[in-house]
Amino acid sequence: MKALGHVFKYGDNVDTDVIIPARYLNSFDAQELASHAMADIDPEFVDKVQPGDLIVANKNFGCGSSREHAPLCLKTAGVSCVIAETFARIFYRNAINIGLPIIECPEAAKRIEAGDEVEVDFDSGMIYDRTKGTEFKGQPFPEFMQKLIAAGGLVKYTNSKR
């Protein structure tokens, strides 16, 4: 599995309130949520994002609330992968559970810039910045999480066990 697209770049501590503000949480319709993705940090995001695009950010991406609406709105908006130095733990779980690929890679987070064309190979964990001609090795998922992802998320994994 691969991701390929252009990068939207953000800083430290991008919280779930700016990814999907609570004023939109009276709905859990994925398309409706996607139409407000990143509303309070980058109002132009939803107009600019193309299917396959990536988000690259620094540390503690997705901190704050437990709202699964956050990874869901990004995935539905077309985001193919989020690369960050670190993720907040609930966002990390939620992303895996709904099948939004995420990769921790401090070096890539630091060096990839907004607008770069980036390709990610999820099998090898390699990240290629096609614009700059650089490459980075992302943190691979532990085996148990790979099993979850391979099963198609937590619901399918749970059903397969019973």
Binding site: N60, S66, R67
Partner: protein, 424 residues
């Protein structure tokens, strides 16, 4: 190798003698909780896995975020979990009028107890660590899985040990201590880890102080915050719950990633400035600055809407008048607290001072309703997050503080020192 308190609880719930940091385990759940935002979204996911919840006494639903329902969509969401609770015969569905903010009502109603393994589809579920439980926030798919199976996977966390010593001074409470701690370690200072609070200083902290501190463990990125189960915690549980509980203690040789000493006597009233809970400034630093003029004060929430918080705010507001430029919302976190405020005459004090007293709800904390801010407005709030746009317009500002600082600020019209209210 010794285990931390959290690791011991997780090991017991995974049926293992020993676990270590980083290990992936599947643990049995004692309580699985969701609210009116995360619950409705979990129902279709739950139905892909099961027809019946794993245990009708252990799955808990609390409509509290957009209640009393702020619009038609939120009314539909509350209705969905209400009907689900009836259909499944859940023992714990907290309806308005008999309820409150989830993390205040669950301990008060005796739904949670020491030694348990608890998940909630709300990040502040870490609150119940104050009782000596392992308790953590998860998302919707996790909660749906917990409702269906009574089990969930966890990565066993490492831990930061906080050794508390001394006694906090007057006008310093759990809120000041936890903002001070987050200010020291940063908003990702405990990322993926437990915050284990220990030391003789704990005996000087009330249960309400501990709930406030455990509640904000997530604001340092922690998986959970946890307190030892001392006499105070046991007498709280004796008063509130029928459940049998189990006391776990960290091993003498438990391994910690870091040990941090906190001298409670040295902690000053502390405020978190926009836009991070770790952006801590002491009241002395604030007094040396240009006054920060405010438009709104919120006293309530799962962080600081408990009885002691109400009493502390009322002690400051008694006989005083809210500043003419400031709107104040006081929101007791549960019906029981609301009624106790009534009995003790605190509602009179709040209303006479010019505060609006609202029914228990998360209300303005996450910008839902009952106090949403306009562009350029500033709020001193006893809630837990001051992120961009959290309480309304993206250009509004939130300053997180204790009930005493909030009350003093309501009177002064700017962030104020509660030690000096009598001076005016």
């Amino acid at each position: 190798m010794g285990m931390t308190m959290t690791q011991k609880i997780l090991a017991a719930h995974a049926g293992l003698d020993q676990v270590e940091a980083g290990q992936l385990i599947e643990a049995k759940l004692d309580v699985v909780m969701a609210n009116d935002i995360t619950g409705p979204m979990a129902l279709p996911i739950f139905k892909e896995m099961a027809d019946k919840v794993y245990d009708k006494d252990k799955v808990v639903l609390v409509p509290d975020h957009f209640t009393p329902n702020k619009d038609i969509k939120s009314a539909e969401n509350s209705k969905a979990i209400r009907e689900f609770a009836r259909e499944q015969g859940l023992s714990w569905f907290f309806e308005q009028g008999k309820s409150g903010v989830e993390h205040a009502i669950l301990p008060e109603a005796g739904v949670v107890a020491a030694g348990e393994c608890i998940i909630g589809a709300d990040s502040h579920t870490c609150t119940y660590g104050a009782l000596g439980a392992f308790s953590t926030g998860v998302g919707t798919t996790d909660i749906a899985t917990g409702m269906a199976t009574g089990e969930l996977w966890f990565k066993v966390p490492g831990a930061l040990k906080f050794v508390l010593k001394g006694k906090p001074g007057p006008y310093v409470s759990g809120k000041d201590i936890i903002i001070h701690i987050i200010g020291r370690i940063g908003v990702d200072g405990a990322l993926y880890k437990s915050m284990e609070f220990t030391g003789e200083g704990i005996s000087a902290l009330s249960m309400d102080d501990r709930f406030t501190m455990a509640n904000m463990a997530i604001e340092a990125g922690a998986k959970n915050g946890i307190f030892p189960v001392d006499e105070k915690a046991q007498s709280y549980m004796k008063e509130h719950t029928q459940k049998e509980y189990k006391i776990y203690e960290a091993d003498e040789d438990a391994v910690y990633d870091d040990v941090i000493e906190i001298d409670l006597a040295a902690v000053r009233p502390t405020v978190a400035f926009p836009h991070l809970p770790g952006n801590a400034k002491t009241i002395d630093e604030i007094e040396a600055m240009e006054p920060v003029k405010i438009h709104q004060v919120v006293i309530g929430s799962c962080t600081n809407g408990r009885m002691e918080d109400m009493r502390k705010a009322a002690a400051i507001l008694k006989g005083q008048t809210v500043h003419e430029d400031v709107r104040v919302m006081v929101i007791p976190a549960t019906q029981k607290i609301y009624k106790q405020c009534m009995k003790e005459g605190l509602l009179d004090i709040f209303v006479d001072a010019g505060c609006a007293v609202n029914t228990p709800s998360c209300g303005p904390c996450m910008g839902g309703h009952m106090g949403v801010m306009a562009a350029g407005e500033r709020c001193v709030s006893t809630t837990n997050r001051n992120f961009v746009g959290r309480m309304g317009h993206v250009d509004s500002l939130i300053y997180l503080a204790s009930p005493e600082v909030a009350a003093a600020s309501a009177i002064a019209g700017c962030i104020a020192n509660p030690e000096k209210v009598g001076d005016r």
